[in-house]
């Protein structure tokens, strides 16, 4: 297994869904500042248009429009007739991340890992560079989350998809209602992500006009510790980023923690103290995360934007 980078390297708050059959969106959504854009070949594309969507996504990936932007492609599930063609289309175009839906166990990930290896060889990509984002949408997936998240060095994230999961659990997913039915699943995904040191993403919020409901849900998942959320409309990006942004006070404190740690190291002290309290390694790591998040969020300590 290759050594993995921690997920802290790039912000991963927002993952914007774009139907792979929508030429206009594929031509324009790069401006909205989503941390990741996800071209979808699965549920948002009708069966009749799977072939043309594949071509659109392939060409988009190769186009200067998307050069330098981190793109995820959601392929069709592993047991569909579309899966292999989807992989060929996107690996040949050098896709950065493949999102696999309906992941129920680690074996699916291993299978995808192997397929990607073959295709990387076929199309001349550097082996191992295509990463995987697993979407868990069933009871099995939730229960196997840790195994899924650690199944391959290609794993960069694990996401929860509520609709199919709720059906599998014989309940419903209704954003406006009490969300206790997602609690266990969310916790499972979260724990798996932390054990595997990868990102975790929460479910989409379908009602684009319900800003209040969206922000309520975001507050819940932020508190739980989620890295980010899948989104269905560019209008959701800014509120999500704002909600995840640390406050100026938090940023200020983070700077002080980092400064105290640097100071302690300079004078050779093993123990870091700030305001009479001991600061240990996890707190310092968290402070670094806060500062990085502040930078991408545009938060400044004194005045400035937002």
């Amino acid at each position: 297994m290759k050594a993995k980078k921690s997920p802290a390297e790039r912000p991963s708050r927002s993952m914007l869904f774009v139907p792979g059959s929508n030429a206009a969106w594929l031509s324009t959504v790069q401006v909205y500042g989503a941390d990741y854009v996800m071209f979808d070949l699965e549920d948002s594309v009708s069966v009749r248009e799977k072939d043309t969507a594949r071509l659109l996504v392939h060409e988009a990936l190769k186009s200067p429009v998307w050069a330098g932007v981190p793109v995820v492609v959601r392929v069709n599930a592993i047991n569909t007739p579309f899966f292999r063609d989807d992989l060929e289309a996107v690996v040949s175009a050098g896709v950065a991340i493949v999102r696999l839906p309906m992941v129920t166990d680690a074996q699916m990930i291993r299978h995808l890992d192997a397929e990607l290896g073959v295709l990387e060889g076929k199309y001349g990509s550097v082996p191992g560079t295509t990463r995987i984002l697993a979407a868990v949408e069933s009871a099995s997936g939730v229960v196997n989350a840790v195994a899924i998240a650690t199944a391959s060095p290609r794993m960069m994230g694990i996401a929860l998809a509520a609709y199919d999961y709720a059906m599998d659990m014989h309940t419903t997913h209704d954003a406006a209602a009490d969300e206790s039915q997602l609690f266990f699943a969310r916790c499972a995904i979260l724990h798996a992500a932390r054990v595997a040191k990868i990102h975790c993403y929460d479910v989409i919020y379908a009602d684009v006009n319900d800003t209040e409901g969206f922000l309520r849900e975001v507050a819940v998942i932020k508190k739980l510790g989620f890295d980010g959320k899948s989104l269905v409309n560019p209008r959701q990006i800014e509120p999500l980023h704002n909600a995840f942004a640390p406050t100026p006070e938090e940023v200020e404190r983070a700077h002080r923690v980092v400064a105290a740690a640097a100071e302690a190291e300079k004078v050779g002290m093993g123990v870091v103290a700030l305001d009479g309290k001991m600061i240990d390694a996890p707190i310092i790591a968290a402070a670094h995360r806060t500062i990085r998040l502040a930078q991408v969020s545009g938060v400044q300590v004194a005045g400035g934007v937002r």
């Binding site: 030429a23 206009a24 031509s27 324009t28 072939d51 043309t52 071509l55 060409e59 186009s63």
Partner: protein
């Protein structure tokens, strides 16, 4: 690649293009575009080049462009041609 049947790919939505192909004895390309004045020549070039890469030497290809970017036009031409030729794409050669 030979176009065997009539086929269509794309839509008439803004920023997309609708491409129709049908079998014919020789190659004929028709393009109408909402950005004809600014990009008409470039679009015709893109379409011709894409047909060349697909090895299409006969057929009637009609493109109704609604200001699509280059990569969209390519993908729509590919889509219509592959459907018309009832063929699978060679991802290396597209």
């Amino acid at each position: 690649m030979r176009i065997e049947v009539d086929a269509v790919a794309g839509t008439l939505e803004s920023s997309d293009a609708l491409v129709r192909v049908s079998p014919a004895e020789e190659l004929r390309i028709e393009v109408t575009s909402t950005v004809e004045a600014q990009f008409g020549a470039e679009i015709r070039r893109t379409v011709a080049e894409q047909l060349d890469r697909l090895g299409v030497t006969e057929g009637l290809i009609s493109v109704q462009d609604k200001g699509a970017l280059d990569f969209v036009i390519r993908a729509r031409v590919q889509g219509a041609v592959l459907r018309g030729a009832q063929a699978r794409p060679d991802w290396r050669k597209l």
